[in-house]
Every structure is written in structure tokens, then in C-alpha cells.
């Protein structure tokens, strides 16, 4: 596994500006990672097929530090962790959506991929340059000179993230 998978220093910093790749509502896991590719568990290989049917130019053009922005219910459908993992592999800095499906949200946090629930995300247009302040929960759109508030992570999840994610938390529990 790459460093990125561990959710540590290998991750791009969402405070750095990057391109927004904008998607609509109800983007399900089949559209993020078409099922024919999820025989692989390798983030780099999965990244080469991210959004392949929905947006064939994505995997070639996405750059480390870019953002995925979406409407309601992003990541609905299957429980496959391959979907957030493909975005980790693609170097996506964070996912900003108006709302998330439950399992995707959980999986992303467990993988150390920042996910922000941001009702104002629909003001972001494809290609806009944005960055995210995770502590303040604010998304800044440099192209439009706008900011949007995101919901803060519940305290429990915040503490899980601060302890290094679920794997680190579990390791500590097993060692304790």
C-alpha cells in the first residue's frame, strides 16, 4: 500500500488550491469505480479507472491536489471501499459535496480522505480553483471569490481522525 492509503503525510494538503471536478447528484459507486475494475485493491490502478464511464477524461487529467465536488448523496450504492480508494490513488485532496451516502462517508474517513458536507457546493463550477480549510470548515472558491461553509465533523469522528484514523485507533486499542 502507498503512503496515501495510510492517511498520513502522503496525502495532499487541502489548504493548497486545486482544480474542482464537479459532478451532479446521486453519483453512485458504480459511476465512481465501475464494477469491472474492482477486482483490484490497488489505489494506483483503481485511480486509472476513476469515473471512467461517466467522465472518461478524469483519470488522465486529474492532478494531485485537485478536488472532487458533487451534489446530493455522493457515493451511494455499494459498500466498496474501492471508490474512495480510487480517489486517494488519484491524489484527490478532498471531496466536497452537498451530502454523502453513509458508507462512502465512513469509508473515506477511515482511509483519511477528507470529506466535507457543504450545502453551498452547487455554486462551484467545473474547473474553478478552490481550497479547503478543514479546521474552520470553510471552502474557498478563488475563481469566483466566494466562500462556503461546511458542516463540522461530529466530535467523535474528529477525535477518530485526530488519533490517526480507524486503523491507528484499533492498533492502539489492541496494544493497550
Amino acid at each position: 500500500m502507498t503512503d496515501a492509503f495510510a492517511g498520513d503525510g502522503g496525502r495532499p494538503d487541502p489548504a493548497e488550491p486545486g482544480r474542482a471536478w464537479v459532478f451532479g447528484d446521486n453519483i453512485d459507486t458504480d459511476q465512481i469505480t465501475p464494477s469491472r475494475f474492482i477486482v483490484s485493491s490497488d489505489p494506483d490502478e483503481l485511480a486509472t479507472h476513476a469515473f471512467e464511464d461517466l467522465r472518461p477524461d478524469f483519470s488522465e487529467a486529474v492532478e494531485t491536489g485537485d478536488f472532487v465536488v458533487a451534489g446530493e448523496n455522493f457515493g451511494s450504492g455499494s459498500s466498496r471501499e474501492h471508490s474512495p480508494l480510487s480517489l486517494v490513488g488519484a491524489g484527490v485532496s478532498a471531496v466536497v459535496a452537498q451530502s454523502f451516502a453513509r458508507i462512502f462517508f465512513r469509508n473515506a474517513i477511515n482511509l483519511g480522505l477528507p470529506v466535507l458536507i457543504c450545502p453551498g457546493a452547487d455554486a462551484i463550477e467545473d474547473g474553478d480553483e478552490i481550497h479547503v480549510d478543514l479546521d474552520a470548515g470553510v471552502v474557498t472558491n478563488h475563481t469566483r471569490d466566494e466562500t462556503y461553509e461546511a458542516e463540522a465533523l461530529p466530535e467523535f469522528l474528529q477525535s477518530l481522525v485526530e488519533q490517526g484514523g480507524l486503523k491507528a485507533y484499533t492498533k492502539a486499542k489492541l496494544d493497550g
Partner: protein, 437 residues
């Protein structure tokens, strides 16, 4: 303070706390499951958190299946299968192989889950177990991999959306029609972060295989689980099916004064057969609205509607008939035991005589991997649970979802057909037990 919902009671019991909706709890897992797609990633997590000498929290309550790409349709799939076999053997877990069937069918049939259990599966349709009163929920591979080591997992205690149905369903109308209607009414994300609870006289009179349909598709409205309070029907089904002694004395039901997010009420008699149009399960309409739509492929199977009773309903309609020449039918039994029942009772013969193709037990083309993938422009009517763009193959194909009876009736004419126009049967749970060896 108000009473508690079934979901709150189940998570209270498993976490040893007085859990209320919105609380975060760490709960004890009774059963953990993963399959050939999600298992390999979970194994990596397990190895990472435990080191080389990791032990499963409970090998006898850990189950791995090989169902999604089974039999293997490529080298990577075959390698995944081997990874499942090796991990299961190394750690002494239960493992079901190619052709044994879909995880959710196997876990119920083989008696791994019971009322009151907390069941986590690295598969989104793990909500299915709610049909027998277990808190079944889908998780990712990291969640599952850590829980395999600790036997614990964190949960946010969900609010509950209650669906109350009273009265008698019309002939030709089944649990599948109910759940498609529920999803249509609350929307694809209408139950996100919440538990669905199904109650009322109609639900109480449903056999267990039909309750499992309701719970299975709770995820198609975003539900964390889909619960039916266990009752004597649950008890007798499980005892007959699995030989396990079921003790309902500690089983839970929601309090009368429980606090629900919302209660949706339905008159069963008023419900027409439902069809969900492409490309979202929430696009549910009365079958009459889409009747006449030409169909290229009919698909009978999946963890939703691939049980013996479902397939028998289709066979009853097709007995002595021929599938319309413009359509083809793919049948994929949910488990090996369903497959064997089909052989023993003549269902297999009836369907092949009518022109259907019957494949080994597993997930089939549901997720577009194999065994009947759709091409550009193909239109499919499926007993499946999802019809997202490209779900069963080409992005240019379309999938309609319905009950087995609607698929059976539509097979006769090669177009979507109201099952009330043909004779349909309804089976209780004893039909599956009848031919057990």
C-alpha cells in the same frame, strides 16, 4: 423521556449503554462477513492492525463467501478467490466457495444470523438481516478489517423511519412492490443515516423470504439497516430452516411511545405492482405506466429476489409457455440450495423448457461483471435492486426493476406486463423446507 425504537434497543444491548438516536457507541459484533470483492482489502487492514500473528475475534462467527465474480471471470478475480480461501483457512473462519451462493442468502439459510444479532458485512445489502430482527448493516473494508480483530465497531445510533402497512396485498403484488414504493416515496437518500422499520398487519403476515426483500433494499433509500420485529414466524422459519433453537424471550420490539423521524402509512390493498424506471430505484411507478415497454433481457436472481420462492413464481407463470422471441431470460439462483431445490421440484426443467438460461448460484449480472452483461441499447427488466447507469453493463443500456411476478408476466410478451393479467401464486416459507433432504 420517550420509549425506544427497535434500532435503539439493539444497539443499547450490544454497546452496554442506554443508546439513543444520535449517540456514538462502540458495539460488540456478533457476526462479520466479507466476500471476494471486499475481503482482500479487509484482510490487508486486518494484517496491518494485528501484525503477522493476528487472530480473528471469533472464527466461528466470521464468514467469507465467493459470490460476486464466481466462477472466476478473469485472473484477478481468481486471485481474489484464492486470497479469500487462504485467509479463511489460516484463521479458521467459515468459507463458502464458488457456486455456494450469495453471502446474504447463505448467512440466513445456514443459520449464522439470528434475532437480536449485530451483523456487519462488507457489502451494502447487509441490511438484509433486519428481516429476521438482526441489526444488519453494510460497512467498508477498513471497518470490517478492524472489527475482525477486535469484535467491536463504532456506530452512530440511527433515527428510525417507520413504514406501517395494513391490509391484504392484491394478487400479483409482493414485498418487492412495497419496497419500490417506499423508495419512490422517500427518495434514494430519504433514509440516509437512519434505520428503516417495517410494521403493521401486512408485514406481520409476510413470510420471512418476503420480509428479507424489504430489509435488503433499505440501502436503496440510504438506510443503515431495515428492521422487522422478530416474531413467531421468524422463530419457526429459522428453526425449520437451520435447526437452530431460537429464543425470542430477549428479542426486541419498538416501544409504543418510541420516537420516530417519521411514520409512513400504507393501505396494502391500494398498491399496484411497481416498476422502477432507469436509472435510479427511486423512479418507482405503477406497472400500468410502463406496460408495453419492450424488453431484451429478463433477469431473475440477486440477494433481493433470487430465492426459491421467487424463482418458483416465475416458473409457475412460464409453465408450458415459451419466452417471447424478442427476449432472453437469465436466471441465477441465490444459493446452491435454491439451485438444488429447482432441480428436485422441476422448476429447473420448466424454466429451461420455456427458454431460460440458468446459471450457477451467485450474484450473476447484477453488478455488471459477468453472466449476462448488457450491451448498448439493451433494455433489461430485473428482479435486482439497482438500476444505476451502466449497472448491468453498457452505460447505454437501461434497467427496470420489478418483482419476480412482473418479470414472469413480461417474459410471456417480451414487454413489461402487469402481473395481474396472469395467474400468480404466493408462497409461504414452508415451500422451501418441503423438499429439504
Amino acid at each position: 423521556m420517550s420509549g425506544k425504537t427497535l434500532a435503539e434497543k439493539l444497539l443499547s444491548a450490544k454497546s452496554g449503554t442506554d443508546a439513543r438516536a444520535g449517540d456514538y457507541v462502540e458495539a460488540d459484533v456478533d457476526v462479520a462477513m466479507a466476500h471476494d470483492i471486499t475481503g482482500p482489502l479487509a484482510f490487508q487492514t486486518f494484517d496491518e492492525v494485528t501484525g503477522d500473528d493476528g487472530e480473528l475475534f471469533a472464527p466461528d462467527r466470521t464468514v467469507f463467501t465467493i459470490d460476486h465474480h464466481a466462477p472466476a471471470d478473469g485472473v484477478q478475480a481468481a486471485n481474489n478467490h484464492n486470497a479469500v480461501r487462504e485467509f479463511a483457512a489460516k484463521h479458521g473462519a467459515h468459507q463458502f466457495d464458488v457456486g455456494d451462493g450469495i453471502c446474504h442468502a447463505v448467512l440466513v439459510e445456514e443459520g449464522f444470523v439470528g434475532p437480536g444479532d449485530l451483523v456487519i458485512g462488507a457489502d451494502s445489502h447487509s441490511t438484509t438481516y433486519g428481516g429476521i430482527g438482526a441489526f444488519g448493516t453494510g460497512v467498508g473494508s477498513t471497518d470490517l478489517g478492524t472489527a475482525l480483530a477486535t469484535g467491536e465497531l463504532w456506530f452512530r445510533v440511527p433515527k428510525t423511519l417507520r413504514f406501517e402497512v395494513d391490509g391484504d396485498l392484491q394478487d400479483g403484488v409482493y414485498a418487492k412492490d412495497l419496497i419500490l414504493r417506499f423508495i419512490g416515496d422517500v427518495g434514494f437518500d430519504g433514509c440516509t443515516y437512519m434505520a428503516a422499520e417495517y410494521a403493521g398487519s401486512t408485514i406481520e403476515s409476510l413470510p420471512i423470504h418476503e420480509r428479507l426483500v424489504l430489509s435488503n433494499m433499505a440501502i436503496e433509500m440510504g438506510g443503515k439497516t431495515g428492521l422487522v420485529a422478530p416474531d413467531e414466524r421468524t422463530e419457526s422459519y429459522l428453526e425449520r430452516q437451520t435447526g437452530n433453537e431460537i429464543d425470542l424471550s430477549d428479542a426486541f420490539v419498538s416501544d409504543d411511545d418510541a420516537d420516530y423521524e417519521a411514520v409512513h402509512t400504507y393501505d396494502a390493498a391500494a398498491l399496484a405492482p411497481q416498476v422502477s424506471k432507469p436509472s435510479n430505484p427511486e423512479n418507482a411507478v405503477d406497472v400500468t405506466e410502463v406496460a408495453g415497454t419492450e424488453i431484451d433481457q429478463l433477469f431473475v436472481g440477486t440477494c433481493t429476489n433470487g430465492r426459491y420462492e421467487d424463482i418458483k413464481i416465475v416458473a409457475d407463470i412460464l409453465a408450458g409457455e415459451t419466452i417471447a422471441p424478442n427476449a432472453r431470460m437469465v436466471v441465477v439462483p441465490a444459493s446452491k440450495s435454491v439451485y438444488q431445490h429447482m432441480l428436485q421440484t422441476g422448476v429447473f426443467q420448466t424454466l429451461t423448457d420455456a427458454g431460460a438460461v440458468i446459471q450457477s448460484a451467485g450474484c450473476g449480472p447484477c453488478a455488471g461483471y459477468h453472466q449476462g452483461v448488457l450491451g448498448d441499447g439493451d433494455v433489461c427488466l430485473a428482479t435486482a435492486n439497482r438500476n444505476f447507469p451502466g449497472r448491468e453493463g453498457s452505460m447505454e443500456s437501461s434497467v427496470y426493476l420489478s418483482s419476480p411476478a412482473t418479470v414472469g408476466a413480461s417474459a410471456l410478451y417480451g414487454e413489461i406486463t402487469d402481473p395481474r393479467e396472469v395467474e400468480t401464486k404466493r408462497y409461504d416459507d414452508t415451500v422451501f423446507a418441503e423438499v429439504l433432504p
